[in-house]
Symmetry: D4
Subunit: 248 residues, 8 copies
């Protein structure tokens, strides 16, 4: 709040224009649900289309189940990422509608329809082994209310495969490029399209790949413009950001 | 081209609907100007608003001058980044209108007005030492046809400075966050706004900063959603991408 | 000993003021119990409140059991860290009072009450997955004679959760901040409180987290003052140091 | 295509010299088989001697089986690398002729004879533990139509073993040197022979070997001329490149 | 503010118990001075003893001068770190009382006396080359209102030098240990004293020291308890934290 | 020598078929010229076409001059790499025919013609800044007796520039690809040609380029087959190896 | 061989002074036993006291058994390192006298007594968890014919334990210091003794230990003189080198 | 001191057998000269042959001069390493006998003859650029009382140069091998000689050499036995250790 807003806010309270209850609500605005081991952010649920998101890695099965249980009390879509088979079973026992994508390791629970813009997000992978990350990105973007076009296995070792699908990629409003090994596909796509490119390095590869470092550095140093990078294997982050841009 | 497009393209040539000259133009579409030491991409100039960009680091003064000289023959805006004083003087001798931003180390040559959308880009820095990178981003975004709001020195060590300017940041269509040292500002801003955040790690710092590695890793591992990262000190890349998103 | 102390010490022996036995005791002062595979430091037990500490990683079950067995012969509290289930069972068989904290992977054996100062230590985590490290810190600090306030899951992605609990954090005499991923919470807390902050990076995260390196570098490069860092996942070290400061 | 070729190509279509079908074929030239999860490159099969290659790591058993199934419809040799026992069994169920090399973890399916040049490739290892990588290289080179001479366990710790076999190594047209630990063998061989040396660092070793990094850096910094390096443990890449050179 | 505090705060405004001016002051509490290129934190100046601190690296001479100029308008002590000779001259031209410590590269401007506790901080270095970092720490701690005892050049290569001065070190309330190369001194001191040890790795050394990395890792992995670490060469951070602890 | 060769060699000496002088020559075969600070390898000079090579970095001007002086006594071509201006002047004073390539930092002294094969080597760069490395490679290959085709500034950011020159690249017997930043060009070329590709990462770039590491890792992890890698900026090594392959 | 030796050697053959058989033997001097997957160095067996050594990691059980089987045909001591339980059983089946040290993971087969010098080697560890590496070193040194004194668990966290055993350490002819975590013990011992110190970093520790890197760097950067370092966890290497020095 | 020694020591004082002065001397045994910025170790000077050593990097010219000034008051040899021209001039002004080795960057001041054993140390380098490090090692070893044989420029790229000098190397009691780039020479020498090998990696090289890291890792991972490693470019450390071993 600027100085002027502060004064106005306080004068309104004093004059009764704003009731104490209203003012308290405004100040309490930034609140959350306390579960002890977790504080669930209630703040985001007001905005239509934002699902509740649970990053499940490092949580116990009981913690995941408990968080979902609370979330189900509200009328919102729910997304779980990095979900193990065991976690899914626990969630399924309290919510049979939960959908488990074994490739993406995601759970999705749809409780309301989100309207989708006409434009779409292209999700492009260099190889077959990058598909799990691509599915995490796609599931995220779809639940957030976006159309997704998947273009898989078009890496630069056989670049004609990419050119054949270039029209689909060029038609997107935002492009996610997912690649392991040397990650060169991001630069090539970035040089060919006029749209924002979100590059996702993957840990696919071996040896001097060092767990995805090679693709990460390659993408960060891209000579093409309009490319930015998210963490290694972070399909969720790419899908979320792509949705933000597509729904602007 | 899809199979169908290929057939149609060829039938049109055969039937004379497309003249050989037109067809040749289409195939020559992807061309460039050969300077020997450089191949200048003529392809992008058709699109209104895209300036010619020269990354000057590693080029000789004569090469920079030669490239600008050729570009001046066309009616397009020109941007040079990482420009030394000596390069600027060489450019200035053939183009007195060239503007040199000593902080950003950029040259800009404006040859035509680009119309700007109403929305703006917020360029936010953690400290004073990050300003050169912020200026590179801002100059780039402005030349590409965007309004820019600068919010400097609002790092997390005194987080109230950030909250004081939060309305300006929240009002932007896309936010560039520039920070060295631990780079925590990107996560904090990412947690507070609903817009795409482009994070730029800088080499500001010392010791275990390792030339910007600490800020880079911090930003890549951000727990906030909607953040992506460009190379260390890459103000140009951030400004270019922000423009792409702002002008969607 | 200074020259003067040496002279005095020796003159006292010569004059008989200090008996040979007393002098020997003083020189033997720095001693330990030899177990062959371990030398148990008897030196620290004199000071009230310092428990015997066993770092169990890399030791065999028999070694852990043997060390505890010897320690039980003395009237001192005992703390074991990085204790496996199997080690716990071995210890339990000779000391049914041993308490195993499965989350923290600690064993505690309380043999005497340690009086606690009125001030307390705040143990703050960014996420739910950081809780095991937080418990190791808390258990350590409590056994050493400190009150602990736990504030979990207040990471910067939803910074209002932090502000809501800021009074608890500000009220502490020393604050432990535990965070993985980008570790930004340490800088934010460091900028908001006037007390020493002990930052503990955790290995929580994936990809460019590189086993906790991202949080470690972030914390070491913090732009906020009053922060120091311990090893990745080193809850014990943070709890021990916090106790030292709290009990000054 | 150069400008002149473009014009000629188009004029030929116009004049009917090239039929629309022929022209379409030429443009479709770079095509592939779409399997959904994979796009199989049909382009290479025309060239005699090039087998179809499947890098199996990161693929599911079903994907591997599906890809082989399609490839079997064509009259080409097939090579699978990084093949697990389970994958082999799936392939074997549809192609009993498939040969599994347990050491190299390769599957080979020979459907036609490839004629071999008289010259041979020497595959040299520093130790016994490097043999699996050497076998991957040898199997690859043999399926591609080359004679291979294996010279194993001639590392520099007992350099007389190398000198004893030097005539075999010197007689090759191209030499593959495979070594872990410090990787010094590549430099020693490179200093002794006049032929191209392809160095393959392996992850054999421990401690400051850092997964093959020591051998990799050693080989990249070799003071001997005529050496180049492929990825750690990349026997396939070395065999493929050696074949290219041997068959020039 | 807790819910209850919020309600109370607002009721007090409404009832007039808190005037609008008072309430505004409380909300404006977190404010700063805007200089365009910097936002000076006015918040800390209220607390007696906290000097204004300027980290000068990466700032221009004019920026440093401008910040000092503003700070001089208030009755507070001022500390500048990483100050070049040229910056000092600019500051000296507007404040002849400014004291420049060439070894520590600090400027100090004392405008009021800070009362000091009886306890002291020991600043210990392994070698002569670590003294500049030690001076930065000492100057910081002294300006913040602490007595400092310097113990220099007592590294483990001649450990009797350390034992000779152990009484001074043991007598401190908090110990700063500064060491480059292998940084072993921190562990040795940590094993000998009962007080918090703040370890400062320095970039002193060469080769596999990698700019201070060896000392940093050594200190982070210390087997002694009660040690925490700040950034490489960060004398200021250590002095600031030591003051916090000493003045608790 | 095999056992049989040893026996034959010795019998020939015994029988006098080989004179002692001849045998001594054969055993002395592997000899060199001792200069004290250097041992010049006389062994290679016998083979036509191999120039004497001096790696000048780290040598004093006098050492370089002394080595050239000795080499000039023989009828062989001479190549110096990493030659400073000052070294060149010293060499020029004793050999006015020495040619200095300022871009490549090479000296070449041609004393005899080397016959060249009809095939050629393509030297391809991603950018203008990579040209110095490309020139080192080209000069080396030319002096060793090869035709070279230079294709500069065809990086993937504007991939049509590459396709325009693809016929030149495809026509080569071996291709050198030189690229900094993300180094993606090597993979793209490797996917398009059937010839051995020697990839040279360069240190061109900044930030997360880490002195060429990004391009190096990218090239080592290339998904295309037939690629091998030499050290960062090692134009000489690439030119030497390419010559070996081209002249097979 | 010098020129003179060569001449003499050849003249002796010619004159018959050296028989062809003798000369062949001398030239064949550097030989080995070919097992296909391994070339066993027969060269070393002549020297009394050198056992045959097998580094078993990365070898198959059959390979280990086959190598031992051949070695047993000769009258020499045998040492196997990094031996799994399964390998031991295979060896035991053909040699019931083989002794397996489960801690050190070594097999020793004593076939002849080696006389031992009066001096001894001190093997010192910082902690209990370093004992397996210490045992590998000790077993190696003992089989090579040396007396060993073990001094375990005397790390710097309780440095009085070290001083208590200092006489044993000082009495040795060469000292092996084994430490993980920060590895400071090597520097402390190096500063206290006048004998060569062989430092062995271990992978004991966690977090910023990075698999032994912290101890390795610490030891390499030691400020004490007379210290050298072997690979992480390389007890064998330390024992072998210590024996070389002790038996000089 | 053992318990028994302590008792005896104390009883002797009590009985007057040891005078207070003698006892004080024994306890003061570990002393040094305090210069404020340095504590000069007087302890070592008693032992014949050990020179006073000053590591000059990071010290000011005045500090170096002051330390030498004090050392000159005693009858001992003096060695300064990493000495700049300016430091030498300052030392020369107070000691005209000081000898400056510009290559090694050492100062030596000989005040008494040290008798030398008959055995010698071989100092071997891979290249000409490694000579400065070799000279630092040689000067150190010579001043410490050893004969040194220099064998320079025998790297593995022309391995016959090494074999030609092998007799000199094999004749040494201890061998120092100094190499940059890939450092393979250490392994080759280690495989050929029976003596302790001290390996010194140098920073000679470029690119993926990473300041000597490649040679360091290569040497640490050597497959040959009897090799240990000192810090990159640490000629002094190697010379000192070699002297220790040679003079055993």
């Amino acid at each position: 709040m600027t100085d002027k807003e502060i004064e106005e806010f306080l004068l309104n309270i004093k004059s009764g224009k704003t009731s104490v209850e209203e003012a308290a609500d405004r100040l309490k605005d930034l609140t959350f649900k306390e579960l002890g081991y977790a504080k669930i952010d209630n703040n985001r649920e007001a905005r239509v289309g934002y699902p509740e998101v649970i990053y499940c890695a490092g949580k116990t099965v009981d913690q995941v189940k408990g968080i979902v249980e609370f979330m189900l009390t509200k009328n919102n879509n729910i997304l779980g990422t990095r979900v193990t088979e065991e976690m899914y079973e626990a969630v399924n026992s309290i919510c049979p509608d939960a959908v488990y994508n074994r490739l993406a390791k995601t759970i999705t629970i749809s409780k309301k329809e989100v309207n989708k813009p006409d434009t779409y997000i292209a999700v492009v992978t260099a190889g077959t082994s990058d598909i799990p990350v691509a599915e995490e990105a796609s599931v995220t973007a779809e639940l957030l209310g976006n159309k997704v076009e998947r273009v898989f296995d078009v890496g630069v070792a056989g670049i004609h495969r990419l050119f054949n699908r270039l029209d689909v990629i060029k038609g997107a409003r935002v492009v996610i490029v997912i690649a392991g090994m040397e990650g060169a596909l991001a630069s090539v796509v970035g040089g060919l399209v006029d749209k924002p490119v979100i590059a996702v390095p993957t840990s696919v590869g071996y040896g001097a790949n060092f767990g995805g470092l090679s693709a990460l550095l390659c993408m960060l140093n891209s000579c093409a413009s309009g490319i930015s990078v998210v963490n290694i294997d972070n399909g969720f982050g790419a899908g979320y950001l792509a949705s933000m841009i597509n729904r602007l």
